[in-house]
């Protein structure tokens, strides 16, 4: 009798353990029902070993760039010191969307960041018309720049910055075996989140070959390098 009870207890516990395993693994075609399971899955995803990430800077070669059939942009996320590439995906009214395979994108208008998506603390839009005029004019003071972000509470917040744009010199950039003559500008801004300085390397035709721009205070500075075109 005791053996039967022990077996009953064993199978009951085994059944419960199986139920727990199944429950935590979860299955079905409606995943909305269980916040606990979603949270468990999120934690499991995070503790799984990260696949080795490849920095695009270590892979790029002049030959690779020359053979690229599309426009390629090298982005270096300076706070993380990670480089990755984006390709031009679409254009709408002067804004080009550059996208990577991870589903992230950078929007640029006239070579200046107009927005980001998929990085978390994204910048939704930029009003930098004043900067574009100032760069064409060789510099200006009191230039207004407006960033719009979705704030932590989930609503659009407009952040206005006052900037001074200065021509600081000339520089020949050497990018994977090609040289580019550029004029260098700084854009020193003050506003919500503190001060920052963006830098632009502009070719005689107006192409911004390289830039370092503050995205948001949380994401920090991104460096952009036009690799071809």
């Amino acid at each position: 009798m005791g053996a039967v009870l022990a077996m009953t207890r064993f199978w009951r516990r085994a059944g419960l353990a199986a139920a727990l395993t199944l429950a935590l693994a979860g299955c079905g075609n409606d995943i909305r029902e269980s916040p606990l399971r979603l949270a468990t899955a999120a934690v499991a995803d995070l503790v799984r070993p990260d696949p080795p990430s490849v920095d695009a800077r270590t892979q790029l070669t002049p030959e690779l760039i020359a053979s690229a059939p599309v426009s390629v942009l090298l982005v270096i996320q300076q706070t993380e010191d990670i480089g990755f590439t984006l390709v031009a995906n679409s254009a709408n009214l002067g804004v080009i969307e550059w996208r990577n395979t991870a589903g992230q994108s950078i929007l640029r208008r006239d070579g200046i960041v107009a927005g980001t998506r998929g990085f978390g603390f994204d910048r939704m839009t930029t009003d930098a018309d004043g900067l574009i005029r100032a760069l064409r004019a060789g510099g200006a003071d009191g230039v207004v720049r407006v960033h719009r972000v979705i704030d932590g509470a989930g609503v659009i917040e407009a952040r206005q910055y006052l900037c001074n744009v200065r021509l600081v010199g000339t520089e020949t950039l050497s990018i994977y075996g090609r040289d580019y003559d550029t004029r260098t500008f700084t854009e020193s801004c003050d506003g919500p989140g503190g001060r920052f300085t963006n830098r632009y390397w502009i070719q005689p035709g107006g192409t911004i070959r390289r830039s370092v721009e503050r995205i948001t205070p949380e994401l920090g500075d991104f460096e952009f390098v036009r690799l071809n075109d």
């Binding site: 299955c27 029902e33 269980s34 804004v95 992230q104």
Partner: protein, 716 residues
């Protein structure tokens, strides 16, 4: 973003809900009662707006206090406290037993700090309980460099050592004496004690030694009279000077160490979270499909031809393309009505937290699939049960124009129109073949909690749940679930109900004792739109774990109106404790009229007036602060025509509700969230049915103001 970064941020979310820095800007160090302050005394400082401060204080004399404080407005803070005090309740034989006490605080900053002026705050401590920690104060605080000085006048517990006649006695002699403590039912808001009796002065200083370490010293007038009254020996104060230090061990997590009254030591843990400090910003979901532009009409007029409508193969091809484009955005196409210039698209959003983001992605998908002649987009998001609210009407050319405009979200909102989808004609609407019937099922874990019973502040069951939902047609839903508890301690509660009312909720512990599989709900529901601005619901079956029966509800909610009005009638019978198909001999009819009012700025009032489960009649008022990211924090109180004595411990029903969206924590879009209701004590008075498909939460984000408040995510 690399996974390790996400992991770090994710951990910070759970641990602190914050970003990576030693201290979160503006978050104040708290006292042992959970509000900004020194050790026992408060300061006039406030936490950042919307700050949710959870804290735990443990003292060497075995006193424990857990607190949740919420910064309701930038200058108003509320707090709920659960305290455990040993050897407090007289047994009658000269011995004492531990008591568990729940209480509320409210603080209002009268003047913010500025220039040479100190901040000034008036506070009520434990005004909603037995009054064990009852105190009122007026305190001023000024920061000078790394030093913060506080001083004030207190009453009650803060009106002890060095006390003097109440200066308010000059206004009215009733201020001279303070009534005794309430050890009966507790829970009444004890307005007759406020600012009464002797007053005393208190003061303190804190010094921010480093960006992590804060040193504190104070003079506390608390004499702990109650802890020494009637022969109790909980504390034997020796000195009114308290010392402490406070260290930020992680972003948003601080630990305080205190020397109290010269005889005790204490530890305080402070956890900071704030709905406004999203740890992953606006989210990590993939970038949306860009708007597909149409060819220039002048260069390609043929492409803009409306002739496609006369081609019988064209419309099915367009629908297939639309279905594919929406599916890429993880939206489900349900029905379409297409003509040469207009497209009505009904779709289901099971992914995005906000309807605005779903509409934005649907609009972009539509531009990829519709012929160029279609200029008007009528987008109709359907709710979880398949009924429509507002239809959002957009010009396709506006979608093309405003995609990357600096103020694109505001401009597309201004250019849009909304109409009640009920007013749209049904003729020509083609429902997708796979839309109905639909069956969804899930096997996953569940949790059930019991909070603040007299023996244990938190009990938890964990188990497995198999759930299913069958929808044969729009609005018609058959749903149910089976649960099996695997582990937990909710069945350890062993205090029998002493309620003098019909035991409509105080038998909950008997349901928690069920060990076998049980059915938490099994219902048939019909949710429908009887007329423009009206929503209806009929439900029948096992409505919740404890009741089965029938339920009917009607809701009036007009797009753009801040006010909505609902009415609900339920006829139910109490279920057997095994939660199978049997019933007990307890019937109830409940009926309510409910008003919902959106005050703007995220504040929502809900007033229910009617008849509750125990037959009592009264009203429930709930004030909720909501955030566009899905966070909700509310407090409610119910007062019915049962007396405090009939109600029992707690005097009347009240509680705090909290919902944290999972998307806020993980950065991935999901509509799932963790919802909690903290009910200090569960009694039979003011009890309501826990229905699953109440209409207002189901339909509210399908129309303005919710729809327009969340519009910032349209282009996300």
């Amino acid at each position: 973003m690399p996974r390790w970064t996400r992991a770090a941020l994710f951990a910070a979310t759970f641990l602190a809900g914050s970003v990576a820095q030693a201290q979160i800007q503006g978050v104040r160090s708290i006292n042992t009662y959970g509000v900004p302050g020194l050790i026992e005394t408060p300061s006039a400082q406030m936490q950042p707006d919307a700050e949710l401060t959870t804290s735990l204080t443990l003292l060497s004399n075995d006193i424990g206090r857990g607190q949740i404080a919420f910064q309701i407005l930038p200058r108003v803070e509320g707090l709920f406290r659960y305290a455990s005090v040993p050897d407090f309740l007289p047994r009658g034989n000269g011995e004492f037993e531990r008591t568990y006490d729940r209480s509320f605080d409210l603080r209002v900053q009268l003047l913010p700090e500025g220039g040479w002026r100190p901040a000034v705050t008036v506070g009520l401590q434990d005004f909603g309980g037995t009054g064990i920690y009852g105190a009122e104060y007026l305190v001023a605080t000024k920061s000078v460099g790394d030093l913060t000085l506080s001083g004030g006048i207190g009453w009650g517990r803060l009106g002890g050592k060095g006390g003097f006649d109440n200066p308010l006695g000059a206004l009215d002699e009733r201020f001279d004496d303070r009534p005794g403590f309430d050890f009966d039912e507790g829970g009444d808001f004890s307005l007759d004690r406020l600012f009464r009796g002797d007053a005393a002065l208190f003061a303190g200083v804190q010094y921010d030694a480093t960006d992590r370490l804060t040193l504190k010293m104070e003079y506390s007038p608390d004499e702990y009279r109650l802890e020494q009254a009637r022969g109790r020996d909980i504390i034997d104060p020796e000195s009114p000077i308290n010392f402490g230090l406070d260290y930020a061990i992680l972003p948003g997590i601080r630990v305080g160490l205190h020397a109290i009254q010269g005889t005790e030591v204490g530890l305080t843990f402070q956890f900071a979270a704030n709905p406004k400090r999203a740890p992953l910003g606006s989210g990590l979901e993939e970038t949306p499909r860009p708007v597909t532009l149409r060819p220039d009409y002048r260069e390609n007029p043929d492409v803009w031809s409306r002739g496609w409508v006369s081609d019988p193969a064209a419309a099915p091809a367009v629908r297939t393309a639309l279905d594919t484009a929406l599916a890429e955005a993880e939206l489900e196409l349900v029905a379409t009505r297409l003509d040469a210039t207009r497209a009505e698209i009904r779709f289901r959003n099971r992914r995005y937290t906000t309807e605005a983001q779903a509409i934005g992605r649907a609009a972009r998908a539509a531009t990829a699939a519709l012929p160029p002649s279609v200029e008007t987009l009528i987008l109709v998001p359907l709710n979880a049960v398949g009924t429509a609210g507002s239809a959002v009407i957009l010009r396709r050319s506006d979608v093309e124009r405003f995609e990357n405009a600096p103020d694109g979200a505001a401009r597309i909102l201004a250019a849009s129109r909304r109409v009640d989808a009920v007013t749209l004609p049904d003729a020509g609407l083609v429902t997708e073949a796979e839309a109905y019937p639909r069956f969804r099922w899930a096997l996953g874990p569940y949790t059930a909690t019991t909070t603040f019973d007299p023996d244990n502040p938190f009990r938890l069951d964990v188990g497995a749940q198999l759930s299913g939902r069958y929808q044969p047609a729009p609005g018609l839903i058959l749903d149910g679930a089976v649960r099996q508890k695997i582990a937990g301690n909710r069945d350890e509660y062993d205090r029998r109900s002493n309620s003098v009312l019909p035991r409509v909720r105080t038998n909950s512990y008997l349901y928690a004792e069920e060990d076998g599989p049980f059915i938490p709900y099994l219902t048939a529901n019909y949710i429908f739109r009887p007329a423009p601005d009206f929503h209806g619901r009929l439900s029948a079956g096992l409505l919740e774990t404890q009741y089965g029966g029938v339920s009917a509800e009607l809701l009036w909610k007009r797009d753009g109106a801040p006010l909505a009005i609902g009415a609900e009638v339920n006829r139910v019978r109490q279920r057997d404790f095994d939660m199978a198909f049997g019933f007990r001999e307890l019937d109830a009819t409940t009926a309510f009229v409910t008003g919902y009012y959106d005050h703007g700025n995220g504040f929502l009032s809900q007033l229910d007036v009617g008849r509750y489960l125990a037959g009592d009649e009264g009203a429930t008022y709930e004030l909720t602060r909501e955030f566009a990211n899905g966070w909700r924090i509310g407090a409610y109180a119910t007062k019915t025509n049962v007396t405090s004595e009939e109600f029992g411990e707690g005097s009347f029903d009240k509680g705090i509700s909290l919902r944290i969206p999972l998307a806020w924590m993980t950065g991935q879009q999901t509509q799932t969230g963790a919802a909690f209701t903290i009910q200090p004590i569960l009694r039979d008075g003011g009890a309501r049915l826990r229905l699953r498909n109440r209409l207002y939460p189901l339909v509210r984000d399908q129309s303005a103001p919710d729809l327009s408040d969340e519009w910032g995510r349209f282009w996300r």
